[in-house]
Every structure is written in structure tokens, then in C-alpha cells.
Amino acid sequence: MAEKPQAVRVLYCGICGLPAEYCEFGPDFEKCKPWLRRHAPDLYPDLLLKEENETDADKAARQLQSVAISGSGDGDSSSAPSGSASASKQDEVKRLPGGKIKKKEKQEVVIEKIVRNKRKCVTVVKGLELFGIKLSDASKKLGKKFATGASVVKGPTEKEQIDVQGDIAYDIVEFITETWPAVPETAIFFIEDGRKVAAA
């Protein structure tokens, strides 16, 4: 009898579930990229490199913008990037409590419903820790409130997030704002069809 072959361990993407090498042909490559950068950087060297450059450019743009804000004696407003999008960006930068500007993380809670196997789904809550909330506490409270399983897990990036079993996305905003008044409703967002939508 032939020797027993060892099972091959395939790296499946944590986002789309395909073998990581097929993410580029998957339903949403953009969404997979952060995960791939962390878990399979060797598979997509070009794209990831390009991405990094882009974010560098982003950073540079943001720095320019904040410079513009701090030196905001008008006159050169014509040089400001066009459109309302940039205006709202400035808003957000201003709103941050003192000194936190250099921390490029925006203080917001992001809620996303992820459907697994058609009928099962998980509601992912990200960003509570940015409001000084202890995630383990929050996870317990969420589990209790919605009578379901909730746990703190490492997300696709190194950040921790809370996974709550079931679709609770639409009851969760009220619960968050009532339980943790530090979180304003305006700082809560949903991911819907890959787009970020304000809850308020």
C-alpha cells in the first residue's frame, strides 16, 4: 500500500474564503487586500506595494491638509482641494480631541453584518476601544443584551473587534449610545454593500 500522503494546508482568505491566491478573482478583491497584506504578502507583491504607495500619498495629502488648517489665515483658499468631501474631512480632523490629529485613526464605531452560509450571520463591531471602552466588557454586555454569543477577536488587520452572532445591526446603535454615552450617534457607521453609511 502506498504511503499516506500528508494533507496540504491551503491558505484560505479570511475575508472571501477562497484560496488566498484566488482573491484577485473573488467577489471583492479590495476588501481582501488588508487581510492579504497581513497574511499573504508574498502572493500579491505588486498590488500591495502599490497600495502602500497610495496610502503614503494619502498620508502626505492629509498632512498638507492639516497644515492648511493650522495656518488657516485665509486668502489661499483657492489652493484647497475641491469639493465638499474635503470640507467634511477637515471637519473630522478638527473634531478630534486635542493632539490626536497625528493619530490618523478616526474616532468612530463601525458596524458590519457579515453573512456566513446564507442563513447565519455575524455582526462585527469595530472601534469601541477608541472611546475608551474595554472590549471584553462591551462584548459581555452585547452578548447579554442580545442573548447571543459575542466575543472579542482579532480582526483582519491587527486590531481587535467584537463579533456578535446574529443580525443585530439595527438595534445596536441605540444600545451603544445608551450604554456608552461617550459614543455619539454621529460617530457610528454601518458598512452596507461595501459602502460606509452613517447611522444617524
Binding site: 500500500m1 502506498a2 504511503e3 499516506k4 500522503p5 494533507a7 496540504v8 491551503v10 472571501c16 474564503g17 477562497l18 484560496p19 491566491e21 484566488y22 478573482f25 473573488g26 467577489p27 452560509n117 446564507k118 442563513r119
Partner: protein
């Protein structure tokens, strides 16, 4: 075949008799000799074998809620992609060129030119009506399970039309049904 496939498509689910279980094991062992040393791990004798009957004369062989093989009527058993990924050498392999990947992943059957172009590859021993693993140019793992319409030799000489039927591919309904629950 599994383009749209979900639990609702399963019409009956039966634990099979020991004799049938033996028969299924035997035909799988005959079809995939490379799997023989693994059969006790993959289809443990003590664990009940479930055969679910689905539409279009499709059967799934399920162990511990995990679909492992499928066949049509009395046709040859074919492994699910998740099983094949673990034991890639149990099947003969064809390879499609990179350009064909997105078509295969949308469920299209495999056209001869995608196999005969510089990025493609054929195992010359393969005859018609044979299960094959469909690999892809530049990729390590299979993206589909195919059932040949033409032999490898005919695919080469005829070189047009469908060469292999696409039975099961990444992200189809069977792929998403990681477990039956």
C-alpha cells in the same frame, strides 16, 4: 451544476446501510487509488455515511456534516474542492490559462483553447468522461472539478468548443456549503 445550490436543494438525507457504505468506499477507492491509504481517515468505518439526494439526480456523500464527494446518478464520485485541496494528487490534472480563470469561476464549461494555449496543460492519459482537477496558470490550487467531454488527445486535435464540463468550482453553492447544518 452547483451555481445555485443550497440546503433547500437537498430533498432527502439518509444514513446508508453498511453494505451500501462499503460499495461507495470501494468505488471511491477504485476511482482514486491515491486515496486508498487515506480512506480510513476520510471515510471512517465507524462514522455513519450520509448520502443526500438533491435535484437533478445529484448525490452528496457526507461525513460528520461535511460534504466530501458528489456524483450524478451512478456516475463516478468526485471529491469536493475542499477535499481535493487537501489531497491534490488524487486526481489527474488539467490546467487552464490565466485568461480562462474568471470564466471558470463564473461557472462556464472549459473550452479547449483555454487548455491548449501556452498557459494551459493537459494530462495526455485522460480519456473522455473522466473526472479531472482543473488547475490554473500561475496558481497552486485547483479552482474547479471537471468531467471531460473529450479525451485529452481530442481536446488537442479538435481544439474548439467545450472540452470539459465544469462540475464544481470555487465559490459555487457546494463550495459555500462547507458544512450541512
Amino acid at each position: 451544476m452547483f451555481k445555485k445550490f443550497s440546503l433547500e436543494d437537498i430533498s432527502a438525507q439518509n444514513q446508508v446501510k453498511a453494505s451500501v457504505q462499503r460499495k461507495i468506499r470501494q468505488s471511491i477507492a477504485d476511482e482514486y487509488p491515491g486515496l486508498e491509504p487515506l480512506l480510513d481517515d476520510i471515510l471512517p468505518k465507524k462514522v455513519p455515511l450520509i448520502v443526500t439526494k438533491c435535484q437533478n439526480h445529484l448525490n452528496l456523500v457526507v461525513v460528520n456534516n461535511v460534504p466530501l464527494f458528489f456524483n450524478i446518478r451512478d456516475g463516478p464520485y468526485m471529491p469536493t474542492l475542499r477535499l481535493l485541496h487537501q489531497y491534490p494528487d488524487i486526481m489527474k490534472k488539467f490546467q487552464v490559462d490565466r485568461g480562462a480563470i474568471k470564466f471558470v469561476l463564473s461557472g462556464a464549461n472549459i473550452m479547449c483553447p483555454g487548455l491548449t494555449s501556452p498557459g494551459g496543460a493537459l494530462n495526455e492519459e485522460v480519456l473522455e468522461e473522466t473526472p479531472v482537477a482543473i488547475m490554473a496558470e500561475g496558481k497552486q490550487h485547483a479552482l474547479a472539478i471537471g468531467y471531460t467531454k473529450l479525451s485529452a488527445k481530442d481536446i488537442k486535435t479538435i481544439n474548439k468548443g467545450i472540452g470539459v464540463d465544469n462540475m464544481h468550482y470555487l465559490n459555487d453553492g457546494l463550495w459555500k456549503m462547507e458544512r450541512l447544518e
